[in-house]
Symmetry: C2
Subunit: 140 residues, 2 copies
Amino acid sequence: MACDLNAIINQLRDKGWRLTPQRQMLLEALHAAEGHIDAETLWEQMVRRFPTISLSTVYRTLESLRDLGAATETDLGLGRVQYHLASHGDHHHLLCRQCGVVLDLPSEELAPLRQRLLARYGFDLGVNHLALRGLCSGCR
Amino acid sequence: MACDLNAIINQLRDKGWRLTPQRQMLLEALHAAEGHIDAETLWEQMVRRFPTISLSTVYRTLESLRDLGAATETDLGLGRVQYHLASHGDHHHLLCRQCGVVLDLPSEELAPLRQRLLARYGFDLGVNHLALRGLCSGCR
DNA sequence: TTAATTGCAAACGTTTTGCAATGGT
DNA sequence: ACCATTGCAAAACGTTTGCAATTAA
């Protein structure tokens, strides 16, 4: 909610961020998305209320949010890279190859796999961003 | 080996495929790659022996091999989509976010996770193509 | 005041497409 | 001979960048 966003904004300000109307609106739209959203869709939503905002500003703002740790970037292998607020927490994605729906999967669900990959392959699986493709319950 | 490739070629021919020199060479190069390779790298290898081959032919041939089930397409979230022969078998990919190395992971390693996702989310995880990002043993 | 940020337009890298010419079957 | 396939050039796509103008601090 609002307090959530204000906390994020204050953190960003502490890191020297300038809060422009464009950035404020982008944060609101990103928060309202309540999940992953791509740069162009975000821009389409913002341009309705702020007709002069440019797509490059959206891209640059998302990049900067990512660098500051406030947003997370996920390439699900669809055409466009997805973003969400880091405050949404670590999670992976279940991606239906039929209908395209994207479900969030809590990080903990992959704990056993992480342990196994570490023990057997010395591979330290990331706790975020994974795109697991398959068929959702509706499409099976 | 050769018999492997010939079997594939015969299968494709049965489906009405025309075996052009370009296609034969692409299949050889794809086989020689012994793993994932992207369209442009494939083209760079082929153009040395066949200077007039075009990149669009490589793309179109890979697309057609994919549609016929002879090749598998994997978007690892790197810039370029990767391909390998379907005869290489089902497997997933461990992708190091540091050094970029890609390790193959047998499908069976994900069997427990598949069962769990099916039971808990009704989600039928695919047996192929998964890109699991993390850190390889060398980079940890 | 001044350095960060913006909008625009142009560039980028990968992939796709239209079309006339070529070549397997 | 026929139609799938090819090479070329151009377009499409998502994304990044250079630059002069603007603006939050």
